[in-house]
Symmetry: C2
Subunit: 215 residues, 2 copies
Amino acid sequence: MPATVRYDAQYCPIARALDVLGDRWTLLILRELVIADQRFTDLRRNLPGIAPTVLTQRLRSMADQGLITTRPSDGGAGARSVYTMTARGREAIPVMRALARWGLPLLEEPTDDRDVRAWSAVNVAIAGYYDPVAAAGVDERYLIRIGDEEFPLSSVRGGGAAREEPDLVIDSNARVWIDIRQDRLTFAQARRAGLIRTRGGRSALANFRRIFHLN
Amino acid sequence: MPATVRYDAQYCPIARALDVLGDRWTLLILRELVIADQRFTDLRRNLPGIAPTVLTQRLRSMADQGLITTRPSDGGAGARSVYTMTARGREAIPVMRALARWGLPLLEEPTDDRDVRAWSAVNVAIAGYYDPVAAAGVDERYLIRIGDEEFPLSSVRGGGAAREEPDLVIDSNARVWIDIRQDRLTFAQARRAGLIRTRGGRSALANFRRIFHLN
DNA sequence: CGGGATCCGTTACGATACTG
DNA sequence: CAGTATCGTAACGGATCCCG
């Protein structure tokens, strides 16, 4: 939505949120920065169709509103600045999760593994199904591996920071997770077919499946 | 965002969701219909600033995409059609909740009770803080009253349909709930000041406060 | 009077080209 | 590499008008 005209007339937190997050591309830029810090060119490549002028403008207004900050590149060479999320920007992750979960049925069947971003798979198809009730009393760490990317998860909400020895390691590709959540496959079938490999204790696996609703 | 240009190039459920929900005004129209079925003129009045042509177009495309349906008015007189949410549209309520919660700190302090919509207060400041872990094992019904509007809530997620005798009735105005969530007031203070009145068992009240994080 | 449709000026967007 | 400049097009906001 246009940055100049806002939903000012409404006393509503949704309207306020959309004033900041509702512009075209804004949430997708944010999603990119959840995955990793990125430079201008990275973002441009990962957001097919965005005009460079629009990207410039969005990055500026997102910085103004405290969603992101720019950090001088530590890479040395020619690169100048890297864009990073702020804590306030990270608070919008639940918004992205809710959107992702709603959009999952609209997603066509993946044709190729490389189509599916690892972050989408983990955050949408696994973390998005986290069941805090099922997780009560469990304190375990899980390591999700998608290709060569690693995503630590915890049975305790917000307890994923410490990089301790995981109780369970799960290896697979991104597509399998989407297939499972679109009901073309069950977790059990994927394991039997060797599409998902697990290493760890039997009870950790049982907990994992219960906490993330995997049959 | 423009309805014609979509985030087609991305294999991402967030992009898909935004293709449908991301247009300017769309989520706010949906929010209106969560509150109540409405006619064209109602929507226009409740969405200050929307151009009638835009409203027409949004209603059409939202219907095309299965978010809403139009129902012939049962009211008789001059009115023709009433807009209602579909089940698919209702599935987007978590998106609105996430946005609302994110937007709450951006909301200025309410100046007048009538500024605050009852639905915002209940859905954002109460239901949005539901803690399923705290609710485990509790099966109670709560009735929230804001002015003359009533909102049944349940300690069991999705169990609010049956209109049984509530275990707890809470009377207040919308502003108080916003004040509480913006940390200008605690629940206990509001009760002592008579801004919130409760009727029901002592344990139901304790459960309610625990489940919805009210100190 | 409710429910829109038409027209118009302004703004934002997308595509391509260009520059420090 | 990291943007800026320019330009044509599409969408928006506001006002007005039309029809039952």
